[in-house]
């Protein structure tokens, strides 16, 4: 079954996914060979490598087949690796991972170009490229072992980025980030081993780490599956992060260098939500249905709680960090609605959050570079001195509060629509998060950009050309995804439908929660008859 599934999609051409994963690593190795005295060259090479990766990811996007036939994995690259242990190098992309890969491909070069780091550029860029390998690997891996390796690899570069290039209490933040995530991962590691070996012993088949084989075998008992799901959920919940295991995030984000924050928020948090989808729901559909209410509860708490705590932050970057907790809460409730709208909303919102929160962190970084402070109370009136920066912040902020016409709305709306079909009252509560988002962001905007500008705030320089172009590219994507999300949604739909069908097949009595469709009535007839009735004087 395994080989059959793979054969259908496996191309014989250039192994583009492997290239996407490996190229950054090669780039990182290359950087170590460059002379440290040539920082410009180091940066150029790094940007070039990540741009090449980005270009390949866009090529994948263009070549990606759409339509119902495209439900499975495409561009599958299957190489035997440690075959005695059933571990293989299997990469593939479907509608769920496609846009996360593109997001990663786009956001890395943007983060590298936008921010000028000054300290030890060689290892800085090398670590970022290693990080890119990890992220891409995690999104593309179809083998549990490969996934785990990639999932863990990202920790090390991020640890060093925070610890070495960060601000404030960076050692504390880095360590906290590391321990938190590692505890979750350790549980998942146990879970993976249990799943693999228990499946092998139950079915009598050889050991395999192959994702699709495991997902389709569903050999374990309900209780066992639930326990193993929980071990996976522990790792993903920390990564997302879900309330109450979120406290590493504000510290890590605030103290990370700007590029680190952009990647952390834009890409790395999605490892958690993506993990829930690809490995949680797909491998353990019954457990996912069983635990969905609990996870949705945590998601809703995160939405309200994250927003409230964000409101009270005094540091602009920390505020954005807490807003991520609220946004990721939305993604979780969408995914665990387990219907098309919720899942598609969740996935598109992963991309949206990457774009808008990434852009917010860039903007905060630009303010910090100019004013050497992120303390909201010390800023003010910046719209006067830096109107372009303010305008960019405004657009990104409106995207983040979910203004229709911009990307954030499409995701948020679909999420709430889907979760309303599945868990009506939770959706009603979650929707109040939209009010709170306006509260904390507009209040922050007012304090930072409105009012009179005094002292250094009055003379702060506006965006330069490079920054302007970087932000313009992000804003372009923000607008496009808001106005015309159809191409994105269309490419997701087959994979999402397949996942729902997978859940429906494997969970007895589970049906996709969806709307009640009434037959359409011809309006002209209705109008004619009722209009006639009214003119006869019967009224309503």
């Amino acid at each position: 079954m395994n080989s059959l599934l793979l054969a259908s999609a496996s191309g014989t051409g250039f192994p583009v996914l492997t290239a996407i994963v490996v190229l950054p690593l090669i780039g990182a190795a290359l950087l170590t060979l460059l002379p440290a005295t040539r920082p410009d060259l180091v940066k150029q090479v790094a940007v070039l490598v990540s741009t090449a990766v980005g270009a390949m990811s866009i090529w994948v996007l263009i070549q990606f087949e759409t339509g119902a036939a495209a439900a499975g994995f495409q561009f599958v690259d299957h190489q035997s690796w440690i075959s005695s242990l059933g571990i293989s190098w299997t990469l593939g992309v479907d509608g769920i991972s496609l846009f996360l890969v593109v997001l990663t491909g786009v956001l890395f070069p943007i983060a590298m170009i936008a921010v000028d780091e000054h300290k030890d550029l060689k290892s800085y860029y090398a670590w970022i490229l290693v990080l890119e390998t990890g992220c891409m690997g995690a999104f593309l891996a179809l083998d549990l072992f490969a996934f785990f390796v990639a999932f863990e690899i990202v920790l090390i570069p991020m640890y060093f980025m925070i610890g070495k290039w960060g601000h404030g209490d960076r050692a504390y933040a880095a360590t906290k980030f590391f321990i938190y995530t590692m505890v979750g991962s350790a549980l998942m590691f146990v879970g993976i081993l249990s799943l693999v070996f228990l499946t092998a012993s139950t079915t009598g088949n050889p050991i395999t780490f192959d994702l699709q084989t495991l997902a389709h075998s569903q050999a374990l008992s309900t209780t066992t599956s639930r326990w193993i799901f929980l071990s996976f959920a522990a790792a993903f919940a920390v990564k997302v992060p879900l309330f109450p295991v979120h406290t590493w995030l504000p510290d890590a984000h605030t103290n990370a260098p700007t590029a680190g924050s952009v990647i952390l928020a834009g890409v790395m948090l999605k490892l958690g939500t993506y993990g829930f989808l690809r490995f949680g729901i797909y491998l353990f559909p019954e457990a996912a249905v069983y635990f969905a209410p609990a996870l949705i509860t945590l998601g809703v708490i995160g939405i309200i709680y994250g927003a409230i705590v964000a409101t009270m932050q005094k540091d602009l970057k920390r505020l954005v960090a807490y807003s991520s907790i609220a946004h990721l809460g939305f993604i979780i409730i969408g995914m665990f609605a387990l219907n098309t709208q919720g899942l598609e909303g969740g996935i598109i919102q992963m991309v949206n959050h990457g774009l808008s929160t990434g852009a917010l962190f860039l903007l905060v970084g630009m303010i910090y570079e100019r004013r050497h402070t992120r303390e909201i109370a010390k800023l003010g009136g910046l719209q006067k001195s830096a109107p372009m920066l303010a305008a960019a912040f405004m657009v990104v902020m409106l995207s983040s509060v979910g203004l229709p016409g911009l990307n954030g709305f499409v995701g948020e709306f679909l999420i709430l629509l889907g979760s309303f079909s599945a868990h009506r009252w939770w959706a009603v509560v979650a929707a109040t998060g939209v009010i709170l988002a306006a509260l904390y962001l507009l209040w922050a905007y007012q304090r930072v950009f409105h009012g009179p500008a005094e002292g250094d705030n009055a003379t702060m320089p506006d965006l330069n050309v490079k920054e302007g172009l970087v932000l313009l590219s992000l804003i372009g994507m923000i607008v496009f995804m808001g106005v015309y999300p159809k191409p994105v949604l269309d490419r997701m739909e087959p994979a999402v439908d397949a996942l729902i069908t997978h859940v429906e097949t494997n969970v007895p009595r589970f049906h996709e929660p969806t709307a009640n469709h009434l037959p359409t009535v011809n309006l002209a007839d209705l109008n004619a008859s009722e209009g006639a009735a009214a003119s006869e004087g019967s009224g309503k």
Binding site: E152, Y159, G163, A171, Y172, T175, I179, M182, A186, L193, P244, T247, Y305, I308, V309, T311, N339, T340, Q341, E344, G345, L403, G405, F413, L414, L416, L417, G418, F420, R424, A427, V428, V434, I435, A438, L442, W443, Q446, H450, G451, P452, Y484, P485, L489, E493, D497, A515, H517, L518, V521, L523, A524, L526, N527, G531, A532, A533, A534, G539, K540
Partner: protein, 774 residues
């Protein structure tokens, strides 16, 4: 012809994009003209579309144009599409028409503003959003417009952002509206899950199959949204603050168009209202009439020319909801249209006054302005008669329709509506009289200036006193010193006299010396004596000066207390400034005496004249005399599906009600004449402080937000740091033995981690080997 409908929102969008890219190069006034031209194009297209619809038979007056699929997800799908029917066409006609006039006006009003083109950028974006709201063929496009107009409103209220009040007002508007938007969103979800579509044609066609509970819930949720956008109780409190925006914005967004969206939405969904439990529409009616009354009382005590109009708008919107709630949809739309004309007119007139009065918005400082700005005054008076319900001006006809249906539905609804009509006539007359009639008060010295002036003088006089007292003190000191010197000199003299007596006469030299010394001593004594006299004289003089200065202070204080200058609003008598020479008056007063209020340029007065004409004649849209004069009612029929309530009051009863309404309006005007023209009653008898404070509602909400609300947020925030993160760090400490080490882990951690992974791999391998061995 109907195919052109996409141009209606597309033109302002094009204007927005053009100004976005070329705004700075276009500059003033080109950006303004471009934006206005786009609105003109929109208006022309709307007229064409209207004729397109008229060409069709009644029952086919629904036309949908789909541009592209917007959000498809499984069985959910919405398009970017437009629904053209009599209701939406009515809306777009006045939105583009009034919008165009206000764009034109703004070219004059925003003259010289450093962000001139940005203003028109926002204005065109607003027009685009508003037209999407109205034309959308599904709830989501309407919601796009709904939130879009909210965002533009936010941007435009805080347009002059360097002022914190403007910034706060914009934020308040957006956030309060978001509370309403929550209702709209949930209503959308509920509509989708119960009907399976959120396209209006599907909703309207299927509403009959909705369960009553569902329909009721949808209506109530939509009304939450409407209460936000259309400023009804309890969410109205953003609208008065929205006046912080430039006046054309107040006219366009916060009077004529955006704030009527809630009324439009409920009218659009009329088949759902028809299916709901009857308490839901009645909730709408009661909140509407309650808001109408409540806001009218507040308007009575406002002194800011725009604030009166803001509360008036809230009140008039309340009338529209009263109409919607009682099923009088035609009356609601009718009043929406006439209100758009006369309220836009009034706001633009107020803007013209503000423009001509050096940005002063306080009506207490106006008076007799009709002399200086005759066009503004004349058109404003038309607007006043229209809103006050004087026939044959437009407001009379539409308000009469609403009250007629209210009477039909519930006499108490009518009564409150009727009292509100009296109040409306009163506060609008007050505004007109204070602004355009009575004494010209702008050059008056104002109470606060009088206080400031006298306080300055008193302070000056008191400083003089202090100075004189200091002089006395130093003179006294001098006296004491002189007396001391004198005493010493006398002592010396006595000593010398003794010396002389003792001196040996034989010792001629010594004798001579002693004599000399004595003479010197005598001289010293006389000098000291005269110094003492001088000092005494000086002290006397200083004392006298103190007395003089003190009298002056007393005089100033007395004058300041009884000068007849501090008279509050000097409606009838000029404050008495005779006591002070003109050149001693405060600088500001002298500047105002030199200031000449002026009429606005034609760019601003032309729209006033057009709107005044419309406000005068728009009643002709729907005259109640026969079914052939009820043009609007006939026209709107295809959008209302027979849900328009039928007024069962007899013809004679209707005439009587209309007569009573006219009398009510005249009573309101008469009372205002008695107070503000004739001076028979003191203003303070009606301008109650509780009205001025808006019944303390806004203050209560604000202090809750700043007090317990903020404390609650702080508590959660504290909980996050202390409890959750504290627990995490606590566990960390426990694990590592002591707190300090947590921070010193650093890269050692990575090694431990690598070791762990390696250990895991070994375990894995071991497992495999064991299994292989089996």
């Amino acid at each position: 012809m109907l195919d052109a409908v996409f141009l209606i929102p597309a033109l302002p969008l094009l204007g927005f994009l053009t100004i976005l890219v070329f705004g700075r190069r276009l500059g003033e006034p080109l950006a303004g003209w471009l934006a206005t031209a786009m609105m003109g194009g929109s208006f022309a297209t709307a007229v064409v579309v209207m004729f397109g619809l008229l060409n069709r038979p009644m029952e086919e007056r629904h036309f949908v144009q789909t541009l592209f699929e917007w959000v498809p997800a499984g069985d959910f799908s919405v398009d970017v599409g437009f629904l053209v029917d009599p209701l939406s066409v009515t809306m777009i006609l006045f939105v583009t028409g009034v919008g165009m006039l206000i764009h034109l006006y703004s070219i004059g009003y925003m003259h010289g503003d450093e962000n001139f083109s940005k203003f028109f950028l926002y204005l065109n974006l607003f027009a685009f959003s508003m037209l999407m709201l109205v034309l959308g063929d599904n709830m989501l496009i309407t919601f796009l417009g709904w939130e879009g107009v909210g965002a533009c409103s936010y941007l435009l209220i805080s347009f002059w952002f360097t002022d914190e009040y403007n910034a706060s007002s914009g934020k308040k508007a957006f956030i309060t509206n978001r509370v309403g938007d929550w209702g709209f969103m949930v209503a959308t979800f509920l509509t989708f899950t119960s009907i399976g579509s959120i396209r209006y044609l599907d909703i309207l066609g299927n509403a009959g199959q909705l369960q009553q509970t569902t329909a009721t819930a949808i209506v109530v949720l939509l009304f939450v949204g409407a209460a936000g956008k259309s400023a009804q109780i309890p969410l109205y409190l953003w609208l008065p603050d929205a006046m912080a925006g430039p006046t054309p914005v107040s006219a366009l967004i916060h009077a004529a168009t955006m704030v009527t969206s809630g009324v439009y939405l409920l009218t659009r969904m009329n088949p759902v209202l028809a299916e709901s439990a009857s308490w839901a529409p009645h909730l709408v009616a009661w909140v509407g009439v309650g808001t109408a009354f409540f806001a009218a009382t507040i308007a009575i005590s406002q002194n800011d020319i725009k604030k009166v109009l803001a509360y008036s708008t809230i009140s008039q919107l309340g009338y529209m909801f009263l109409a919607v709630g009682t099923g009088a949809y035609v009356a609601a739309i009718f009043h929406m249209v006439t209100h758009a004309f006369f309220k836009a007119l009034l706001f633009l007139g107020a803007g013209s006054v503000i423009h001509g009065m050096d940005n002063d918005q306080d009506m207490r400082h106006y008076g007799m302005l009709r002399k200086f700005m005759p066009i503004t005054a004349g058109t404003f008076i038309v607007g006043w008669l229209a809103i006050a319900g004087v026939p044959p001006f437009a407001g009379f006809w539409s308000k009469d329709e609403i009250l007629g249906q209210a009477w039909n539905d519930n006499k108490l609804l009518w009564l409150i509506g009727f009292i509100t009509a009296i109040l409306t006539a009163f506060y609008m007359s007050r505004e007109v009289f204070l602004t355009f009639y009575g004494r010209y008060r702008y050059a008056d010295i104002r109470d606060e200036e009088v206080d400031e002036m006298w306080n300055g003088r008193i302070a000056e006089a008191e400083a003089e006193v202090a100075k004189a007292e200091a002089a006395v003190t130093s003179a006294d000191e001098a006296v004491a010193k002189a007396a001391d010197k004198l005493a010493k000199a006398v002592e010396k003299l006595e000593q010398r006299q003794g010396e002389l007596a003792e001196a040996d006469e034989a010792d001629e030299k010594a004798f001579e010396k002693a004599t000399k010394n004595l003479a010197k001593a005598e001289e010293g004594v006389s000098k000291a004596q005269s110094a003492l006299d001088d000092a005494h004289a000086a002290a006397e003089q200083a004392r006298a000066a103190i007395a003089g200065v003190q009298t002056e202070v007393e005089r100033v204080v007395a004058a300041s207390e009884a000068d007849g200058m501090r008279v509050g609003v000097a409606l009838f008598e000029e404050p008495d400034t005779d006591a002070i020479p003109d050149d001693e008056l405060p600088e500001a007063v002298r500047a105002r005496r030199e200031y000449h209020p002026h009429e606005s340029p034609w760019l601003m007065t032309l729209p006033l004249v057009v709107l005044a004409t419309l406000a005068a004649i728009a009643g002709g849209l729907n005259l109640p005399f026969s079914s052939s004069t009820k043009r609007l009612e006939t026209w709107l029929e295809p959008s209302l599906f027979g849900n328009e309530a039928v007024n069962t009051v007899s013809a004679g009863g209707k005439w009587l009600l209309a007569g009573v309404a006219v009398v009510g309006g005249l009573v309101g005007i008469y009372v205002a004449v008695a107070i503000y023209i004739r001076g028979r009653i003191k203003p303070s008898t009606v301008e109650l402080p509780i009205f001025a404070h808006g019944w303390h509602y806004d203050e209560a909400v604000s202090s809750f937000m700043a007090g317990p609300g903020r404390k609650g947020f702080d508590l959660v925030s504290w909980f996050d740091g202390a409890a959750i993160d504290g627990a995490v760090n606590g566990v960390g400490r426990l694990v590592r033995g002591s707190g300090g080490q947590l921070r010193r882990l650093q890269s050692g951690m990575v090694r431990a981690y690598a070791a762990m992974v390696a250990l895991g791999a070994v375990a894995l391998l071991g497992w495999f080997l064991v299994r292989a061995g089996l």
